[in-house]
Symmetry: C2
Subunit: 364 residues, 2 copies
Amino acid sequence: MNAELRTIPATDGYRMPAEWEPHGGCYLAWPENTYFWRQGAKPVQHTVVAIADAIAATGEQVTVTVSSSQYLHARLLLPDAVRVVEISTFNAWARDIAPSFLVDDHGGLRGVDWRFDGYGNRSPYWHLDNGYAARILDLERLDRYAGPIVFEGGMIDVDGLGTGIVAAECLLDPVRYRNPNRDTIIDAVRDYLGVRKLIWLPFGLVDDDTAGHMDNMARFVSPGTVALAWTGNERDPQFERSAAAWELLTAETDADGKPLTVHKIPIPGPLHMTAEESLGTDIGARIDRTGQRLAGSYLNFYISNGAVLIPALDPATDDEAAAILSGLLPGREPIQLPSRELLLGGGNIHCATRQIPATTRRQS
Amino acid sequence: MNAELRTIPATDGYRMPAEWEPHGGCYLAWPENTYFWRQGAKPVQHTVVAIADAIAATGEQVTVTVSSSQYLHARLLLPDAVRVVEISTFNAWARDIAPSFLVDDHGGLRGVDWRFDGYGNRSPYWHLDNGYAARILDLERLDRYAGPIVFEGGMIDVDGLGTGIVAAECLLDPVRYRNPNRDTIIDAVRDYLGVRKLIWLPFGLVDDDTAGHMDNMARFVSPGTVALAWTGNERDPQFERSAAAWELLTAETDADGKPLTVHKIPIPGPLHMTAEESLGTDIGARIDRTGQRLAGSYLNFYISNGAVLIPALDPATDDEAAAILSGLLPGREPIQLPSRELLLGGGNIHCATRQIPATTRRQS
């Protein structure tokens, strides 16, 4: 284990970069639990293979982590360019459980190991997931900060310049936090991610298992520009969530006092779980989830070096969403990847990935 | 996975270096099976901690591999300077199951992934161990040669200049090899390790579970100089083994035609398993091994950067053996480490370790 640092990242000159800054690599966790993955997780594994393959093709060093029992299968399915290493997890949301990687202005690279409690104990078997970040930092020989609060990578989106967006329903969630406190969150993301100004939307996406992860709702696509999940259907419970966010964001400024431009991205569907999809999972043995609304959103894209991977979820809206996002991320090849299988587990492409910033030098 | 090379290492300019050449790092595998480790493997784990600690102190980047279920415990016990990564194995003999690392004259580093079959199926549950080398090469992003035969790292000792020593009882073992064939072995070590001249001793150490691993019997300590396990007791069945080796080695030359100098290293004991040591293992539930002779040998030392780690096994002989070895490895601090717990599992310090050569450049 490299040093556990007792200092404050921001004071040390470290910040969380924006996703569009250059990546050195990317971590994904092999989906293998049968708790919420159907058919022994075989369909979703092919989705992860396609994602890993696409990211590796853009020049990132992709690592997929997997338990011992699935190692040979993962190694067989994944392309040679992808590194497979053994790290056992319950969930496959590297976004949430991998370290928050930080950079400084001198090529330094470090990581924050936040507390993880299975989304406020909504997910079972999360003790392994809570150890994921430390294992990766040990493996990468990177110094580690211990984040002072429960925090998941998908909770926040940042512009890398001091601005962050979160949802109050998530960061003030009484299931995760015994005494939800706005100042505690503000202090933590300022000190540990370099976020000087935190924008609080009231809500995330409707029916999101995470109770408001920002990577389904609103994302920076460049400094001063935000993409927002949108529906014009006033009868959809998502409408008031998106409208409230629109109202707030269009009146907001970033950390440097510049107004934000907001672009609406249509939501797919609404999408619902089929009876077939509800069957054959551990959770399905207890609860029939047929008809449950899925937290589908094109905002769950991944910006890789030179490309943007966009969920393909609904033929009626896929191309429109991809066209808008592609316009907002010029110079990046838009890659639409069918990802409904990931969505059945509650996340999507962004949730499944965690980039490592490119750096010229590694901290010893 | 980096490339699986279809070419021949020796033709590509690669060779296995001598252990005294500079190391970049060292792998050890956490002992955790209860098949042959007593008391839940707890005593032997402390031995491995001491070894890892000592090697790290000499400036090698030490990695200990461990299963998911023992990760937290290993991380707790091992010093911060040691990296812990998850790779599940049955046995803890990194020497035998890790890759044979090769170097070329241009800073290149590659590995050979031999076939491993649990010492001719003498050990159970070896399917994970057979995958160890490939996992390490994947993790280290090193190109891989597939070794064409069953081979264990402890089978051979080399001078890095083209000479190797093996035991015929081991490399022509009909339990491991369907049709034992001297030429097949000669070809394999020439092509895959760069050994131009292979010296065949008839036997390894008496009562060695591996049926003749060389790292209990005879080791190069410098070009042209060999240390040999020795007893002067003609009633000990080890005597004829050591005497035959002495006769053969003192008449031999290395790959460059230079005569060998041979130094006798006393064996400890003889050492035998106690009744207490036989109890509480899985194998002990089937076979009472009380009184079984242990394959104790000081030859199972590890040459690290700047030091030599020597098993401490018997107060009557420890210091004499260490003094001789220290004289043969000048400039290296002799570190005597109590290692009887490792010996109970059939190996010792050298078996538990696998060095990675230092290199100026890594193969992509």
